[in-house]
Subunit: 413 residues, 2 copies
């Protein structure tokens, strides 16, 4: 089953907010054999919304909209839906009760604008929003379904996963089976990897497809298969996956769709190791990625973000002479940072970064993008100098990934 | 001038990659009076791409595509563009030379797949990609322009800003003037603020529009105006902005479109203050946000991410008795963390967080979302307990914003 998504909101089109709801919806529905055929982002404008809905219904029988439902005046979605599906805006007591309850839980007071959320088109079936004030609305006409959802990512996710998608699966029971398998590969560029997999891809059955999803430092390979018979598909996918894994060899570090921080965390937990981080140019981003993983407190003790040299000396015990003679971005300093934080926080493992993220601070000798990375495993430390391309964000992100990969490699060996 | 964007790529539709290019393009073109009318996200599929291009050209004379140009086999954009704009794929020596140069700079070797990037439709004008291997292509037909760009955000940004947009502005000189003004407001919910601004909005001239962009902890207000006369628009926007600012009063913390970390950084730099952070539940995210700002090393010394209690005691000097009797998520602990990191890193200011980000770890007394936050300014510390709604990511992000806002408020007073 395919769906089209329409994300409504001026804030998306002027680039102040990024649409993360569409990706969330895709990730949620893919495992059940559903897929997103297209996404449209349109303004808070009745004509644009109507045009988008018509185009979307030309493509799919299910259209999901997000956004355009806030209590403020830039929202015109509800009257537009009335126009398309008939009926008129009516005051719904059950919605009012839900709005009051949500507002009470948040410790806020009701006001006329919040109360106005209780007006809904008489042509829709209301789905109460347990986690926000904007009600969800299910419209149905000529066998086609449109569900209007709020745009706040947390609300969209909660309500789509627990209410909307179960209702859609009930309304449109599935026929074809679909499977994705993900492989995390390190150490190759996209084109070198594609060359390596050329013969494999040529021999793939027609109902299986391979996609490359490169990120700085790693490549995600996604194998997708469809079949009318779920168990036959299972067998084909298992065979193709094993064939692919044997070609990838040691460069394949994970056969599930996990983040680098999740892969590292699983390895640390398996071995019963703890870890710490000492960050200069990555400025806390490694700590942030590691602690985004629920349960990371099992193995992660903490980080010293040593932006200033005095912090490198004071908290990490980096030798002042090395800082003075070699500079902060150097092998001796990053090694001492990694070993120092492992000692200070009493952990088995550590990683450290020291580099120039830019845009300023580069020299002829150490241009912007130069990053020294160290990883320590039980007293043994490895260090390497990288030269990352791109702007500040990209240098920080690339260094964050490579530091974790360095430790992952040491844990594998 | 309006443009439509088509983001091409299966990876976007299955939710493994988020389309950040469209937002980047919007932010780049808005100040020059250009805007994005719609964004479409479609699969690596010839029919879908053709349909999207036709729909987009129905709406605007300029269509920008991103993605679908990598060296691997899931890319079918180039042959599709040949079909639409005529011509055939030809081997372009200048593109080949550019690809070789980019590959050489990256320290990689050329392979047949990378070399294949040199095939381009004979109907296009090539724009050499200085920062990647996929060439950009400018097509023109019946007064309408389509520019095909790579999908890697760093490459798209660099090439769009330095080459594509200047060429577009030259091709379509602008007529109407457009201005945005942004106001960062704290302390109100969206609906309370909308109530406060009701009279103001009713009295606004017809060519000015106000939009609400709420985020956890703050609301961005965006005033947009258009006029055929740029200096008349300037005067109207200045008048409307001042009127709005006087209503907002002290809850208006910034009249530019800046992140909270930029606002805080500007205040610290103005006062000549330094700062540090001590993070438990936010796990380095405050440090990460602060160090995303270029030049933050002027005022930011570093962070201690004290995920484990022993780190709170060892590096921050938190009293073990307080940890044992009150627990890590408590006023005495978060206060000692803030004061401790300010002392350890010898800074004027500090913020600290200690809370339960979830999904595990909550108790009846301290449910998931409970976060204690402290801010210290020259020896004076304030603390507050928050209860944030939502999942782990949202709790971390909300706490990250509120910690910075707490210090901003202390710096204002």
């Amino acid at each position: 089953m395919q769906v089209s998504i329409i994300a409504i909101g001026d804030e998306l089109l002027i680039g102040q907010v990024v649409d993360t709801n569409s990706g969330m919806i895709s990730r949620e529905i893919n495992p059940d054999g559903w897929s997103v055929r297209s996404v449209r982002v349109v303004a808070d404008d009745a004509e644009e919304i109507k045009r988008a809905i018509k185009q979307a219904f030309d493509e799919t029988d299910v259209v999901l909209t997000t956004g355009g439902l806030g209590p403020t005046k830039d929202d015109i979605t509800k009257p537009t839906l009335c126009e398309l599906f008939g009926g008129e805006l009516v005051y719904d007591k059950a919605v009012e009760a839900n709005v009051l309850e949500v507002v009470r839980k948040r410790g806020l007071k009701i006001n006329p604008l919040t109360a106005a959320q209780a007006y809904v088109p008489s042509s829709c079936r209301v789905i109460q929003n347990r986690v926000g004030t904007a009600p969800l609305m299910w419209f149905e006409k000529d066998g086609k379904v449109l569900v209007s959802m709020p745009g706040v990512p947390f609300e969209t996710q909660e309500m789509f996963c627990t209410e909307v998608f179960p209702m859609l699966k009930h309304r449109f029971p599935r026929k074809d089976a679909l499977q994705h398998r993900t492989f995390i590969v390190i150490g190759y560029s996209e084109s070198v990897l594609a060359g390596m997999l050329d013969d494999y891809e040529k021999a793939m059955p027609g109902n299986v497809h391979l996609a490359y999803l490169p990120k700085p430092g790693l490549i995600r390979l996604r194998l997708t298969g469809t079949d009318t018979d779920a168990s036959r598909l299972e067998a084909v996918m298992a065979e193709q996956s094993d064939k692919l894994a044997s070609i990838l060899g040691k460069s394949l570090i994970c056969r599930e769709d996990k983040t680098i921080a999740q892969i590292l965390g699983d390895m640390l937990r398996d071995k019963g190791y703890t870890m710490a981080t000492a960050e200069s140019c990555t400025g806390g981003n490694i700590a942030h990625e590691i602690t985004q993983v629920a349960g990371s407190s099992d193995y992660y003790k903490g980080s010293v973000v040593s932006y200033a040299n005095e912090v490198k000396e004071g908290l990490l015990g980096v030798d002042g002479t090395a800082l003075a003679t070699e500079g902060a971005v150097s092998e001796p300093v990053v090694r001492q940072m990694s070993e120092g934080v492992s000692r200070a926080l009493n952990t088995d493992c550590a990683v450290a970064t020291s580099g120039i993220a830019g845009p300023g601070g580069g020299t002829a000798d150490k241009p912007v993008g130069t990053v020294w990375i160290s990883a320590t495993k039980r007293g043994q430390t490895e260090s390497k100098c990288y030269h990352f391309a791109g702007n500040r964000d990209r240098v920080i992100n690339h260094a964050t990934t490579m530091a974790q990969i360095m430790l992952i490699k040491m844990l594998i060996n």
